[in-house]
């Protein structure tokens, strides 16, 4: 983990209530897709944990949805503004576990961390299919970006306004895969857990105090013991998750 000052290079809407922000500076502590950063905002005591959508040598990209006053404040920020950020938080996805045909399942803003993962998988020559679920057409983002990296991209919308009508699990029917990675709201993760036919990894969200394992604010129970979502997660292996069915 590092505490660094990053400069906003870009901050613009890409879908309904969804923004992309590019932050430049020392991002060397960010080492794996699936990690997150924790952003300090003027006027708020707690930082805002946001997953990393992409990371290159000197900049990282986050996608965020405006859901409260913190993200609303972020949406008003302009290029050139500087942010106090804790970087390189969480374990991230385990790329070494990918084998055979890989499936990526993203729900809403949960698709964000899968983008960097898709880029890493492409670099390793892995055959990946992405299923991206949204409520409606206006919510869709990054479909062309995923298409550039994945052999196949399947969109699903709850109202049927684009792609498969229904949830990501409806789109999973008929897709063959040997390993999967997923991120999205918890009800979706539970549905993917039940529908999945292989081993895989789940990225979780929880209200956090610190983001680096100090406060025990985000602990959950797993098969292998108590885990802090921020430090021992946010990515958990399917076999660790203590969901009844």
């Amino acid at each position: 983990m590092d505490q660094v000052v990053l400069t906003i290079k870009e901050n613009a809407p890409i879908a309904r209530d969804v923004y992309r922000m590019v932050l430049a500076g020392d991002v060397s502590a960010v080492t794996a897709p699936g990690q997150f950063i924790n952003i300090a905002l003027a006027g708020s005591f707690l930082r805002r944990p946001i997953s990393v959508c992409d990371c290159t040598g000197d900049a990282l990209t986050i996608l965020y949805k405006v859901v409260g006053h913190g993200t609303a404040q972020m949406a008003q920020m302009a290029p050139g503004e500087r942010l106090d950020v804790l970087t390189g938080l969480g374990n991230g996805f385990d790329l070494r576990a990918a084998h055979g045909r890989v499936l990526l399942v993203g729900g809403g803003i949960g698709a964000a961390p899968l983008y960097w993962l898709a880029r890493e998988l492409k670099m390793r020559g892995v055959d990946a299919t992405a299923i991206l679920g949204f409520n409606t057409r206006e919510d869709i983002f990054y479909a062309p970006e995923f298409s550039a990296l994945c052999a196949r991209v399947i969109l699903a919308t709850a109202d049927g306004s684009c792609g498969v009508k229904g949830f990501v699990t409806d789109a999973m029917d008929g897709v063959e895969y040997d390993y999967f990675y997923t991120c999205g709201p918890e009800p979706m993760l539970k549905a993917v857990y039940r529908a999945s036919k292989s081993d895989g990894e789940f990225s979780f969200e929880e209200r956090m105090g610190c983001g680096f394992g100090a406060c025990m604010g985000c602990t959950c129970k797993t098969i292998t013991g108590w885990k802090r979502i921020c430090k021992d997660g946010p990515v958990l292996r399917k076999g660790e998750i203590a969901w009844a069915d």
Binding site: M1, Q3, A40, S44, F45, L46, R47, L86, E206, R207, M208, G209, C210, F212, G213, A214, C215, M216, G217, C218, T219, C220, K221, W226, K231
Partner: protein, 303 residues
């Protein structure tokens, strides 16, 4: 002995800055960030006899100038702390550590203190009779002078280490509890623990915290904490550790002027992980600005 040193119950601290229990784990996360030997000491995570998972999530909520937590004393239990955490700590921290002890009965406090008394790494026992986030324990002892005195006496009987009683602000007269602990033989007091609070989510119309209520900490509580430290410093002769919303070198000095011998920093560690190191580094310049030669000279300076 430097300009920053203070003496806490017979043990010399290089400086008065102590990360507060519950915000610093057992030291490992922060030892990975900076050399934690720059601290006066730190107070480790509240430890009970048996392992405790704590409360369901969400355990954290935001507030203006602070945060609410309802972690509920998650800890691996005293035996695991002694067998696993203290050996790890010994490798990265070479000063006496403050052990924070929680319990649900006088017997439990006694048993945990007995076990920790045998650990050479531990300098002080800080007895938490003020956790607002668990039922049937913690704060129940810290809101009744008789119960507070009973725990103090019982713990003092089983340890030779200095006993610090950690007090709750959720009382109408904190000096009554402070006097009861002092009269029962406490070596020092620490105050304040968090203030009982709650938030409601407008969308769900339900409490944000799964536990309904939680403890408020952060800069919002600093003036309340300062007032209580001042009142207790007038009421008792034993040393006081001041805490509650401390977030700068200036706050440390203000707490000491109110009567604190040492100062703990809590919530701020969670949002500014380097805060304790930075406050310690800044203290000499702030002392110079206010004409303070030695920090120990200002303890109780406003009384």
């Amino acid at each position: 002995m430097g300009r920053l040193s203070v003496n806490l119950c017979g043990i010399e601290l290089d400086n008065p800055v102590i990360p507060a229990s519950g915000t610093f784990g057992y030291g490992a996360e922060f030892a990975a960030l900076y050399d934690i030997n720059v601290l006066g000491t730190f107070s480790f995570k509240g430890t009970t006899l048996a392992p405790r998972y704590g409360n369901p999530t969400p355990r954290i909520a935001e507030a203006a100038g602070g945060m609410l937590n309802a972690v509920g004393l998650q800890n691996p239990g005293v035996d695991a702390v002694i067998a696993e955490e203290l050996p790890k700590l010994r490798k990265v921290f070479h000063k006496p550590v403050m052990a924070n002890v929680s319990g649900f009965s006088t017997e439990e406090y006694v048993k945990v203190c007995e076990k920790l008394d045998a650990c050479p790494e531990i300098g002080w026992l800080e007895v938490n009779i003020s956790c607002p986030n668990v039922h049937g324990g913690g704060m129940a002892f810290g809101t009744d002078p008789k119960a507070a005195a009973e725990v103090t006496k019982a713990v003092k009987a089983v340890t030779t280490k200095p006993v610090i009683m950690k007090l709750s602000p959720n009382v109408s007269d904190i000096t009554a509890i402070a006097r009861a602990c002092a009269d029962a033989g406490a070596d020092a007091l620490s105050l304040i623990n968090t203030m009982l609070a709650m938030r409601i989510d407008l969308k769900t119309r339900k409490p944000v915290l799964a536990n309904t209520t939680g403890g408020l900490s952060g800069p919002a509580v600093f003036p309340v904490a300062l007032r209580m430290v001042y009142q207790c410093a007038k009421a008792v002769q034993i040393p006081i550790i001041g805490l509650g919303g401390v977030s700068s070198a200036e706050d440390v000095i203000e707490m000491m002027l109110a009567g604190a011998t040492a100062v703990q920093i809590g919530a701020q560690n969670l949002t500014q992980p380097f805060i304790c190191r930075d406050v310690i580094a800044r203290l000499p310049a702030v002392m110079d600005a206010y004409g303070i030669e030695n920090l120990k000279d200002i303890i109780g300076g406003a009384l």
